[in-house]
Symmetry: C2
Subunit: 340 residues, 2 copies
DNA sequence: GTGAAAGCGCTAACAT
DNA sequence: ATGTTAGCGCTTTCAC
C-alpha cells in the first residue's frame, strides 16, 4: 500500500497542490469552487488519501499533545484523575496520550525515556513514580513535567498531592466524634513513603488534639501487602494480630482502601461486626470502596481537581511560564458510607 | 522559550548541520571525531536542544505507533489486555498510545475521529464500542482497525472476543458438577448485547446437556445496573426478588463480576451463606473479584492472549496484509476461588 | 571527518 | 479561483 500524498492527487486531478490542500482543508477554505472541491474529494477518496499528520505537525510546529505516565499499582484510584486530565486538556485543544507502564522491565523510567520518540510537549506523572530515575529521565528530555501524587520527599517538579495529613486527621476525628476511643491504624508498612508518614501523622494529630493517647500497640502493619507485583493482598495479618493478642479496639483507620478490603474480611472471620463492633475508615475512595460490604467510609482525594490542576500547570509551563517545583496540597473529603 | 534547532547548534558551533546531526544521532555515527562530538554535545546541552520528533518522523516516514481506544465502562477489566498490548507492540518496535474516552461528550466515536490528528498507524478498539458510529469513524480514517471484545452483532473489523458461550457453559457445568441443581442466572439486562445473549446461551446449554430444565423464574436481571454513567451498582434487586418470592436456588451464575458484588451483599442480608447455601460464579475475573468476600470464583477472559493477538493482527494489517473481518474466539478459563 | 543540498508532505505567502 | 514557491527540522546522499 504505497503512501498517497497531495502530489498524487494534484497530478491525478490536474490541479496544483495548493488547491488540493485547500479543498481538503479541515476548515473548508472559501476560495475554492464547489466543483473543484468535489472533484478533489472524489480523487482523494478513490486513491485512499490520508493526510500526513506528521507533515501537518511539522508545518504547524507541534502536536499539542501531552503524555500521561500511568504506573501499575494504581488501579482504581487514578481513573478519575486521568479522566479529568483528558477533559481539561481537550478544552485547551490538547491531546492526552496515556502511557501505561504495564509491567515493562524498565518501569516508569523507561517509559519516560521512550517519550523521546513520542510527539509530546509535556509529561504528567501519575502516582507513585517513587523513583528519582523517573525524574531524571523526564529532566533529560527537557520537557515540562508535573506530578500528581508523587511520593518523593524531595520535590523536584511541580506536584499536586492530596493533603494526607488533613485527610487522616479528618478520618480519625470523625471516628473519635462517633464515640470511638480505641482506634487502630492499619498501614502498609512496605515502604516509607510520604503518604504513609503523613497519614500516620494525621492520625496521631487527631488523637492528640482530642486528648487521646497513641497506643503503639494499635499501630499495625499489613505485611501481606505487596507493592510492586500488582497482586491484590489476599489476607491481612494485622487484624488477627490484634485479636489474637486480645488488644481491644473499636475502630480502624486504614492507610488506603485496599488495606481495608482484607481487614473487613478478617473482622468478619473474627466475629466482629462492622460498624457495630468496629468502625472502619479508608483512604482514597478507590473504586473498590463501593464494592465492599459494608461499603467503605473513606477519605476521597479530589481527583478531578487534581487532574485538571495538573494539566493547567503543565499547559502553563508549555506556554513558557516558569513553574516552581513545589508541592501543592489539595483538600480531601470524607465520604460517609456504611462502615463508620 | 524559542525552539532550538540543529541549525542553531550548527551556527553556534561553527559546524555544518550534517555534522551536528551525526554527532547527535541516536546510534553514534562512526565518521565523527570524538572531539567534535563532545563539542556539539556541549553546545546542544547549553542551548537546551531537543530533537524534533516530528521532523525525524517526517523524514523517516512514520512513527510506528498504534492507538488504543478505551471506553469508560472498560476500566477495570481492560488493564491486563492493554498491558499485554503494550508489551507485544513494544516487541515490534511500536508505541501504543492509549486514548481514554473519559466521559467525552461524543463518546468513543469522537475519540476515534480525533485520531485523524494523532500520528498513529492503526486502531485498537477496546471493549464495547457498541456503536456503528465508532466503526464508521474508524473506517473514515482508513486506518487498519482491530477490535477486542466488541459486542456488535455485525462484525465489520477483525475482532477478538472471549468465547462467551463456552465460558458460561463452563461455569454452569462446574456448578452442576458441584451438585447444584437450582442455578439462577443473574444478568444485567440493560442492553441486549452480544455477550449477554451468549452467556445466557451457554448457561442454558449446560443445563440442557445435563438434563436440567431452564426455569424461567431463575433468570433474573439486576435493574440497578447502570451502564453508561460509570456508577457502581449499589444494590441488587434480583436476589431479593428470588428470596421474597420464595423461589429456591442453590447457585447463581452472574453475567459478570460486577453483578456478583451486590449479589453477594444481598445474599448475606438474606442470611444465605456462600458457598454453603448458595454457590456463586462470576465472569470476567475483574480485579474486584479478589476483593470480595468470599473471593469470587469466576470465568477469566484470557486478556493477555487477547491483547497480544489483537496487536499482532493490527501490525499485520499495517504491514499490508488483508485481514478478514471475522470474530476470533478465545477460550476462557475457570478460576476457582471461594464462592463456589 | 565534514559540508552542501535535497527532500520527507504539507500549508501559507505571494503571485496570477 | 488557482498555481508557484518556500520552508517547517531533520537525515542522508554525495561531494570534498
Amino acid at each position: 500500500m504505497p503512501k498517497v500524498t497531495l502530489a498524487d492527487i494534484s497530478r491525478e486531478a490536474g490541479l496544483g497542490k495548493a488547491t488540493v490542500s485547500r479543498a481538503l482543508a479541515v476548515e473548508p477554505h472559501p476560495d475554492v469552487s464547489e466543483e473543484t472541491r468535489a472533484r478533489v474529494k472524489a480523487v482523494a477518496d478513490r486513491l485512499g488519501y490520508r493526510p500526513s499528520v506528521t507533515a501537518r505537525a511539522l508545518r504547524a510546529g507541534g502536536y499539542h499533545a501531552i503524555s500521561a505516565v500511568i504506573p501499575d499499582n494504581a488501579w482504581g484510584w487514578w481513573e478519575p484523575a486521568v479522566r479529568a486530565a483528558f477533559l481539561e486538556a481537550g478544552e485547551h485543544g490538547y491531546h492526552v496520550l496515556a502511557h501505561a507502564v504495564a509491567g515493562r522491565p524498565g518501569g516508569a523510567a523507561s517509559v519516560v525515556e521512550d517519550l523521546a520518540n513520542v510527539p509530546t510537549e509535556g509529561i504528567l506523572l501519575f502516582g507513585s513514580s517513587n523513583d528519582t530515575a523517573v525524574l531524571r529521565a523526564a529532566n533529560a528530555l527537557r520537557l515540562p513535567t508535573v506530578a500528581i501524587d508523587d511520593v518523593n520527599d524531595e520535590v523536584r517538579v511541580p506536584t499536586i498531592t492530596v493533603d494526607n495529613v488533613a485527610g487522616a486527621y479528618q478520618a480519625t476525628t470523625y471516628l473519635i466524634q462517633s464515640g470511638r476511643r480505641r482506634i487502630a491504624y492499619l498501614g502498609s508498612g512496605a515502604k516509607s513513603t510520604l503518604f504513609e508518614r503523613d497519614r500516620l501523622a494525621g492520625y496521631k494529630k487527631a488523637l492528640a488534639e482530642h486528648g487521646l493517647e497513641v497506643d503503639p500497640e494499635l499501630v499495625v502493619y499489613d505485611t501481606a501487602w505487596k507493592w510492586d507485583d500488582g497482586e491484590t493482598p489476599s489476607r491481612s495479618a494485622p487484624i488477627e494480630y490484634l485479636v489474637d493478642r486480645g488488644i481491644s479496639f473499636d475502630a480502624v483507620f486504614c492507610e488506603f482502601d485496599m488495606i481495608a478490603a482484607p481487614a473487613l474480611r478478617s473482622l468478619r472471620r473474627a466475629g466482629l461486626s462492622v460498624p457495630a463492633d468496629v468502625a472502619i475508615v479508608g483512604f482514597d475512595d478507590d473504586l473498590a470502596a463501593q464494592l465492599l460490604d459494608p461499603q467503605l467510609t473513606t477519605i476521597r482525594q479530589p481527583y478531578e481537581r487534581m487532574g485538571r490542576n495538573a494539566v493547567r500547570k503543565l499547559l502553563a509551563a508549555i506556554g513558557g511560564e516558569r513553574l516552581q517545583p513545589t508541592r501543592e496540597l489539595e483538600a480531601p473529603e470524607l465520604i460517609r458510607r456504611e462502615s463508620a
